[in-house]
Symmetry: C2
Subunit: 190 residues, 2 copies
């Protein structure tokens, strides 16, 4: 996805610890037009899948997911990182975040994830794959089927794709794949 690759090279910044900072257009300030183009590219890549629901995690997955849901006319559910006081029956997964160096709990109400659901999970980053692993856990608890997972940016050198594949997700698409952030250089796969 050329426009995304160019934007990453232009506005992305390498930080210590294998972090790519894209908070000027993806996960703090957002470019809604780029998010729409990301959504269209996900539609192309997952064209053959029988999806009935988009699943994401708060907060940075919501923007591409809601534009995708809008274009596909599908509901979007976002997993919450804190249990709301108003939620009664829920699925819970513990997630280890290496990037943010803290663990967190992910919850989804039992009302909005069921055995009838064929899920496309969407998020901004695929790094070590632990958020995806939590989503697999939640979907297994609910009896929902994960049809695919789509990420805006994959940091291939953190091997999340391998972890997700080992856990049964085979349809994984990333719109930009980064092979290395060493020496402050963003090396994008061609």
């Amino acid at each position: 996805m050329k426009i995304l690759r160019e934007r990453i090279l232009q506005d992305g910044r390498c930080l210590e610890g294998g972090i790519l900072k894209v908070d000027s257009f993806i996960n703090h300030q957002m470019d809604p037009n780029l998010m729409k183009q990301v959504a269209v590219e996900f539609i192309r890549r997952f064209a053959d899948l029988p999806i009935n629901k988009i699943l994401t995690v708060e907060a940075s997955g919501i923007a591409p997911s809601v534009l995708l849901g809008y274009l596909l006319e599908l509901p979007v559910v976002y997993a919450k990182k804190k249990k709301p006081s108003t939620m009664q029956e829920m699925y819970v997964a513990e997630v280890r975040s290496f990037t943010k160096q803290r663990d967190y709990t992910m919850v989804i109400s039992k009302e909005y994830l069921t055995p009838k659901d064929h899920i496309l999970f969407v998020d901004d980053f695929l790094a070590y794959g632990n958020t995806g692993l939590g989503i697999i856990d939640l979907c297994q608890q609910a009896g929902a089927t994960i049809e695919g997972m789509g990420f805006i940016i994959e940091k291939a050198f953190q091997h999340g794709r391998e972890l997700l594949t080992e856990n049964g997700v085979f349809c994984i698409e990333s719109l930009a794949i980064i092979d290395s952030l060493e020496d402050d250089r963003i090396q994008l796969r061609k």
Copy 2:
């Protein structure tokens, strides 16, 4: 906004403590088409304002904001409720949440809120007005101008509008106004 009012009456649920649960279509599972209609209604109501940026707070304000930003071709910034380890220079506001009964810190990077900005703040709920107060604080620190605030649902009996007006925000629009949730009945203003 008829379609929103009907949806609230059909799918909203009253909980104790003046809480209206709308997590089947606004703030857990989301209806992206309704969010687009909400965005269009905000465009109508704020048609005369010189806005150059949409501001919101994670997580439930992101969906209407990104669709609004997409339609208006404007950037969207969401305030974060935790300081990211990668953020260096930021504005910080302390927010008291009565609805969730916990206080939190709201941060925005100094890069994305500046004296040049004319802000439309968008959120799902106007309740006691404390989130809006935090946004006023952040914008004052940055020297940004708040042109207006738009909410999907206002709980008028919690008087947030008065608090925001006292603090200098006069252009406030809510797409559905609730006068009471007493006796498990949603009383919508006509």
